[in-house]
């Protein structure tokens, strides 16, 4: 009798339709809104092209090793984050629970950002765009005051969309239009994740590929705009002096970390649906490189458009000054053009200095306009929307832009929801006979109800808090324990044997060194530096207050104590899971070891799961 070939046991676990779906899902999870609105900003403020040096060093020593670790873990153990870490060691089960809690918190607020994107999207079908004109005041003699003092774009964002309160303590009421959009967003998420990877696998083809198409279109359009080259030169001109600032290195490390969506548990869940004999090493390197290339690729259209916007603002400034001068001196039209403005100004200043001083002309400086750097929601909803008004055919550009942002965010949401869904499915919260659709429905419904608090008037302040505290420090802690857990508790020797079995070749020295020493050390340093920097600054936020003296500048306020307590809770809750579960298991172990019937569990190996 010949030996029967090793048929992998059919464990009824869903699997990817093909490898491409899996890679695309990981890329979609990693490539998100941060690639478009955080990376270009960091490049700009940290010396342009010079920022790429710490960025790629961080990618090499932190990003790729951690990514490979998570993918290999999920693929080997074939379980979601909670189950996987319980299998590695019950004392480390808390790492999985912590990942799960972070995924829940991030899903809640991330979908609210998509709600704003959806609101702008459905408002893009009007002519003229609602954020391009100020509404009139009550007696129709002028424009609405708040709008007139700031800009129409600011007004639409702060008043018409958020209806923001001047202080985080004033919650205000729920905004019904945001509730509608929030319900729609959660319905879309439910539609796509209804049966787990069966449905997200199909949806990802659209949501992961579409943004690249739109980015290319924007690239071509952006490069044809006047002033685009100024923006690009400004972005990429390297200023190597900035590398002396440790802040730059910290930002690079944290950007790589959060950009790759590590420590959420979503990557472990994705990899767990793979066949075990799959080259996870190549996958990890591919995903990381594609993510970084996307960041670079996205910064080109972003900066072309920002350069265009700065140039237009500069020209507007000049034009306004020219009109004032022409009106004051009754010179014929088009006598002063932008080109001869400076010569005229010097001539007039020498002949009529008092008149010129009386005009109160603003000094127009292109560099100043280029220096106005924004990141995050400000970039998308204020700066970019303003630039879109200036482009011909603005409705089409607005629609394209917001669909792209929505796809980027949605594919990241798939990963977040998978990080929540898979462990719950394995813990068998609902009976096995109940359909999967029920569990995903319950998750989406509960998340929608909790996320309603972000549709309050003070909602955007709370989203900033969640972003700063729940989506930053806990991830660093969890990732640190992940690496330590695999390298020193599961032991690298075992893990390298498992990875060898999966990929079919010996583990490179690079992985040994990074997993054992460099990555944990780097994570520890980043964590300490991050926490120290956060501690140094007082916990403050900027509020939009029309009654503020310096309006339209935002008012700097300090968080009230109860809000600060919530911040600490958000950051500590996932981290505290790790020691709590370890303690809980220690107590259980002590009690169980007194039981004579107790048999210690078998030592787990990756190959053992399938033979």
């Amino acid at each position: 009798l010949s030996a029967t070939p090793e048929i992998p046991k059919e464990d009824g676990r869903p699997k990817w339709d093909n490898k491409f779906q899996y890679i695309l899902s990981c890329i979609g999870f990693a490539v998100g809104l941060g690639n478009v609105w955080r990376f270009p900003y960091l490049c700009q403020i940290h010396g342009g092209g010079a920022f790429l040096i710490p960025y790629f060093i961080a990618l090499l020593f932190e990003g790729i090793p951690l990514l490979h670790l998570e993918l290999a873990l999920g693929q080997c153990l074939r379980k979601g984050s909670i189950g996987a870490w319980n299998t590695i060691s019950p004392y480390l089960g808390g790492v999985g629970v912590g990942s799960w809690v972070v995924s829940v918190l991030v899903s809640l607020y991330y979908n609210t950002v998509l709600t704003w994107v959806m609101w702008y999207f459905i408002n893009s079908f009007q002519e003229p765009l609602p954020w391009s004109v100020c509404p009139l005041n009550e007696n129709r003699t002028g424009f609405n005051e708040e709008c007139y003092e700031s800009t129409a774009v600011n007004y639409f964002w702060y008043r018409k969309t958020l209806n923001i309160t001047p202080d985080i303590a004033e919650s205000g009421t729920l905004q019904w239009w945001l509730i509608l959009c929030l319900a729609t967003c959660w319905a879309i998420v439910y539609l796509c994740t209804i049966r787990g990877i069966e449905t997200t696998g199909k949806a990802i083809y659209v949501t992961a590929i579409f943004p690249y198409l739109v980015l290319t279109i924007f690239l071509i359009q952006g490069l044809t705009l006047p002033g685009a080259t100024d923006g690009l030169i400004y972005l990429f001109t390297p200023n190597l002096n900035t590398l002396k600032n440790p802040r730059v290195w910290l930002d690079a490390a944290t950007q790589i970390f959060f950009s790759l969506s590590l420590a959420f548990g979503g990557l472990i869940a994705f990899a767990s649906y793979n066949p075990t004999k799959n080259d996870c090493e190549k996958d990890a390197v591919t995903v990381a490189i594609v993510n970084s290339m996307t960041s670079l690729y996205a910064s080109i259209p972003v900066f072309s458009v920002l350069g265009f916007k700065a140039t237009t603002a500069y020209w507007d400034c000049l034009d306004r000054n020219i009109i004032s001068i022409i009106n004051e001196f009754d010179l014929p039209e088009e006598s002063i053009m932008r080109q001869n403005y400076t010569s005229w100004i010097s001539f007039l200043n020498s002949s009529y200095p008092e008149k010129i001083a009386g005009l109160k002309l603003k000094s127009c400086n292109l560099q100043e306009f280029l220096d106005q750097s924004v990141s995050g929601t400000g970039l998308a909803f204020i700066v970019f929307t303003q630039a879109i008004i200036l482009m011909p055919g603005s409705q089409a550009w607005a629609i394209l832009f917001f669909i792209m942002l929505f796809s980027l965010g949605l594919s990241s949401m798939f990963g977040n929801i998978e990080g929540v869904f898979t462990p719950l499915l394995e813990l068998q919260i609902i009976p096995k006979s109940a359909p999967k659709e029920l569990l995903s429905g319950i998750i989406c419904l509960i998340s929608f109800l909790i996320a309603l608090c972000f549709t309050l008037r003070s909602g955007s302040y709370w989203i900033d808090i969640f972003d700063r505290y729940a989506g930053s420090v806990p991830l660093l802690v969890i990732a640190f324990f992940e690496v330590i857990g695999v390298a020193y508790i599961y032991k690298i020797k075992r893990f390298s044997k498992d990875v060898e079995w999966m990929t079919g070749r010996k583990l490179n020295l690079y992985w040994h060194i990074t997993w054992r020493f460099i990555s944990p050390l780097l994570l520890l340093i980043v964590f300490m530096a991050f926490v120290t920097l956060q501690m140094q600054k007082p916990q403050s936020y900027t509020a939009w207050n029309p009654k503020y003296k310096g309006f339209p500048m935002k008012e700097e306020k300090v968080y009230p104590p109860w809000v600060q307590a919530i911040c600490v809770l958000l950051a500590a809750l996932p981290c505290v899971c790790v020691p709590l579960v370890a303690l809980f298991h220690l107590v259980k172990q002590k009690r169980r070891s007194k039981d004579p019937r107790f048999v210690p569990p078998e030592v787990f190996t990756c190959q053992g799961a399938n033979s």
Partner: protein, 224 residues
């Protein structure tokens, strides 16, 4: 005779000069930006255009007060600059050497702003009456906000998708349940009748109990 005529003419001229000058009482400054409005199709501002302007102001005054006493000669223009900007004032022919109150002129211009603008192919921004504010036109508000319509379309599509997926999931599950119960039934039947893959009825044949090969060759073997 001639001297009297010259004297009256000079008095009138001086009076006019007194009435129309920058910042005079009841005088308004007008600023026109033809090149900004029309670009290449810009016309030059000359005496004919000034005549048209006087005619439009007289027209506005006539329409407003509905007494046809204002003549083109009642409208005085002065200090025309290259910008193009000038001051104008409307005199009252019934009273000697006085100007019509500024409020009346303002109201008249306001009422007929549109007509005046279109006569010159300009708009409120390019034909500015510096002390007269224009009433801003309200933005066009459709009865249903456009965003609600788009929102409705998007929501309908999504709900349709969810219903389709849920229903197809339920149908798949029903089919799987039916299939699995059918298979169970057929397996049970098979358990009764199958043994080593051969139905038991066939084994009942005599041929199964006695091995024909050995039975036939019985004589070959020596008896014990």
């Amino acid at each position: 005779m001639l001297r009297a005529l010259l004297l009256t003419l000079s008095v009138v001229a001086i009076a006019h000069a007194e009435l129309c000058k920058p910042d005079a009482q009841n005088a308004f400054k007008v600023r026109i930006s033809i090149k900004t409005a029309l670009g290449d199709n810009a016309y030059a501002w000359d005496a004919n255009e000034e005549y048209l302007f006087k005619a439009m102001v007289a027209f506005a005054m006539r329409r407003y007060s509905s007494k046809s006493t204002t003549q083109i000669s009642n409208v005085l223009l002065c200090n025309v600059t290259d910008r193009v900007s000038f001051w104008f004032v409307v005199t009252d022919s019934s009273k000697n050497v006085t100007t019509v109150p500024g409020s009346e002129v303002e109201a008249a211009i306001r009422m007929n702003r549109n007509r005046i603008n279109s006569a010159f192919l300009l708009n409120d921004k390019t034909l500015q009456f510096l002390k007269i504010t224009s009433t801003l036109s309200p933005p066009i508000e459709p009865s249903t906000p456009v965003w609600l319509i788009v929102f409705g379309v998007v929501l309908c599509l999504i709900v349709a998708g969810i219903v389709f997926l849920v229903v197809s999931g339920i149908q798949k599950r029903k089919k799987k349940n039916k299939e699995s119960t059918e298979r169970e039934n057929s397996e049970e039947k098979a358990e009764v009748t199958l043994e080593n893959g051969i139905p038991c009825e066939a084994l009942d044949l005599k041929a199964g109990h006695i091995n024909g090969v050995f039975a036939a060759e019985d004589e070959r073997f020596t008896s014990l």
